[in-house]
Subunit: 478 residues, 2 copies
């Protein structure tokens, strides 16, 4: 192992410096590169292939739930951005402004979309007349820009890729149903595709989206005990509809405002995959989104019959899996480390002795288990092993998340826990902004969400001791 | 027919006003909408679904030919854009400039990418060291911005969606091979997926891409006799490599410059589909990219058993085709017109009498042929009919294109032809810029390309009478 390691450039250990470990992994697993554009990423083929697989999982589910993809302009005229008061206050300080087209100064500035509520609202205002036009269930895949001061690849960048769903409904009930439906789609993809366990909950007033009536979130916990907001689903009520005059004639010929939602996830999910599953050897990818699900490595490949056999296996397995066979002239040990770094879920080693015994050696990336398997059962074993890897990753992540989830009854206790053992801390809250601000000020932690599954830990707010209204997951967040 | 027509809003006839016909079709077939952002499109679900199908056709072929998708920043710092002289002269006058991030004035302006050569070059300069790193075969799907004065949906817009391939190779030969390979991929997709016949050729020096050594193009002819540049593939030689210092160490340990290509197609292809196949009843879509390949319309749907049968057919056919069943309370005649407007390739009518006879009525969108078919053979007939529609569309378009392709021996003859019978005009050319400029000045036509398949129409340039170097397809273009 030590010998292998030296062949690949080493990465910082997670426990020594989690931030540096993250930076090493994204660079050495060839996920991203930097460029001369401050705060923006070059997403390299391996990183982008992960994103494409995430996109497919989401897009299929969006379409199954009746949504259609559209594309809106990337620019928003300043006057349009200004239409909804809370929304503009939330976003105006962090948008990029286009002031010139060629040599000509524009009469009105355009911002590069930080999110597209205003454009969808304008479109809905023009295209919705009657109850027959509802619901509108639109989604768009694009990039957006937010002028962040400090950035980190995938987690917080000036420009990032995402999808933004924007829907319009006849009633408040339908909008609320949609908000929760899409929250559940996100939870499904995170848990069953990315193998990342989530807490589903509602954001506090302080943490909700600018202009939303209510924001719901899926929160996950990274290996270092910091929380990551992994996807949000907003119920806008009729706030935007009133600002943008989106009305329809109902069945009784009465004018009504629509009720709207929006929901989005971003390339940040790749950051979550890295920080939930990764280890000191690099990336660990869930099979469902791994660009390469298994890599075949011929051992003593110059010996007669080895490459032929390796190619034969590749041919056979490619029908069902995303397979790579590495017959480059590097040493097997180097290759083992390389594909561990890249998080390939399963490695198949095949050498002359294996061929003699009609077997291959499978090695799991997640727990390094070695499995000797007859070539007659190879395909079946791969199917089962990949399924087990997928399942194990989720279980392992859930165990760690649960282990790092604490309970605090008082602010003192809270402060002690969050700063000695980072993680989620569950604590009761009176619902007042003052207490929420106090937690932030004293400890640096924020209310991640009020989980949909509430627990009555005590009757009292952990800050002020007054009657508690909700149980909150608190944490320090990316 | 007349009665049906009245039920749907009518569109302008192609022959009366082709431009207005185009505008009517894109609006009434619900492909795009306008917004308050000048020159940008809202691509609606039906238009975007066509784009998604085009994307799939292309992306599959890109991957089959070894290309990988990546994502580069949407911004280009001014200093980076300025690095290649011809390139910046070509693009600087038409870029959108970001000058402020939030409230802060930027120290260096960023342009919104009009194309990403400069970013790919910077990345290649950082990531290519050795011949082992070559070739780099990258592609990106994104939107780009060019500050056009006059715009028209799909054909010329401030922002448009496209893919841009950018590759780096060890030798000039490999770069040239790649340039032609991708030109052929475009020709394949246009002809065999979009059913649009193309002329493959090379652009003149005047018409080539800013910074390219040579530009190749696939040119198609619209129904009104105007040409549309439908896709381009550029060989950059080592020009960008020298400007951006992209060098690699070859097998003999010598430093060499890479040779590069780039190639792209855009949402403009949707404009081509409309203008090549459309008719006075609206859109006509090739089955390969039609979001709905066949629509089932129940006739007398209130009668017992009709909706059940229609649903049963939908169920059955959905396994193989993209099917829609319209059981809304509108009249069948209205529905017929509606799906003709939307260009759905095949309609299936099923009513009580059909059910009695165990048959359905198929109606082709392209030639309105009615086919009575036994329900026992329905699936097979649909397969064959859709294949025939796809083939017929290409043949019909090729016939029209050939009919509208003329030959001119002199500039006078050329002028007369191009202005009385718009189309492609083949004419010999001496290769001098003066003659090319003269054609433009006198007739408004431009050199569309020097086709790869040359014909020796005469020995003399049609302009100056001096010895001819190439046969050129000339035309007025979108």
């Amino acid at each position: 192992m030590a010998k292998d390691k030296k062949l690949v450039e080493e990465i910082t250990s997670m426990n020594d410096d989690f931030g540096q470990w993250y930076t090493d992994v994204i660079k050495k697993a060839e996920l991203v590169d930097y460029s001369s554009v401050r705060g923006c990423m070059v997403i390299k083929p391996y990183g982008y292939a992960i994103w494409e697989n995430i996109q497919k999982s989401l897009d299929t589910r969006f379409k199954e739930t009746g949504h259609e993809n559209v594309y809106m302009p990337m620019f928003i005229p300043e006057s349009l951005l200004l239409k909804e008061k809370e929304h503009v206050e939330g976003f105006a300080p962090e948008v990029a402004w286009v002031t010139h087209g060629g040599d000509e100064k524009l009469t009105e500035r355009l911002c590069v979309r930080p999110t597209s509520e205003t454009l969808f609202c304008e479109h809905y205002s023009n295209s919705i007349q009657s109850y027959r036009d509802l619901p509108k269930l639109y989604n768009q895949w694009c990039s957006v820009v937010r002028w962040e001061k400090t950035t980190r690849p995938f987690l917080r960048t000036l420009e990032f890729l995402w999808q933004e769903g924007h829907t319009a409904h006849a009633t408040a009930e339908e909008a609320q149903e949609e908000t929760i439906r899409m929250l559940n789609v996100y939870a499904d993809v995170l848990e069953n595709v990315l193998a990342i366990p989530v807490i589903k909950g509602r954001k506090t007033e302080k943490e909700k989206f600018a202009g939303a009536h209510a924001t719901y979130t899926v929160e996950s916990l990274m290996h270092d005990g910091k929380a990551l907001q992994s996807g949000t689903s907003h119920n806008f009520g009729d706030g935007f509809a009133k600002a943008f005059d989106i009305q329809y004639t109902d069945k009784n010929n009465q004018l009504q405002y629509v009720h709207q939602t929006s929901w989005g996830v971003t390339t940040r999910l790749i950051g979550a995959i890295i920080m939930v599953h990764g280890d000191d050897s690099g990336l660990v990818l869930p099979p469902a989104i791994a660009p390469t699900q298994l890599v075949i490595i011929p051992v003593s490949q110059h010996k007669e019959g080895v490459l032929e056999k390796a190619n034969e296996l590749k041919q056979k397995l490619s029908a069902k899996f995303r397979v790579k066979m590495d017959d480059s002239d590097k040493m097997p040990g180097w290759k083992f480390s390389e594909y561990e770094m890249k998080g390939v879920p399963l490695r198949i080693e095949i050498g002359p002795k294996d061929i003699e015994k009609n077997q291959a050696v499978l090695v799991r990336r997640d727990n390094r288990e070695k499995i000797f398997v007859s070539l007659d059962n190879l395909e079946e074993t791969v199917v089962n092993t990949l399924a087990d890897v997928q399942k194990s990753l989720l279980e392992k992540a859930r165990e760690l998340r649960d282990k790092k989830t604490y309970i605090a009854a008082t602010l003192e206790e809270f402060d002690q826990i969050i700063n000695s053992t980072p993680g989620f801390v569950k604590g009761m809250w009176c619902g007042e902004r003052e207490c929420e601000d106090l937690v932030k000020e004293k400890t640096g932690a924020t209310a991640r969400c009020m989980p949909l599954e509430q627990e009555q830990l005590s009757d009292k707010c952990m800050c002020c001791g007054k009657p508690a209204k909700s149980m909150v997951y608190w944490g320090k967040a990316y």
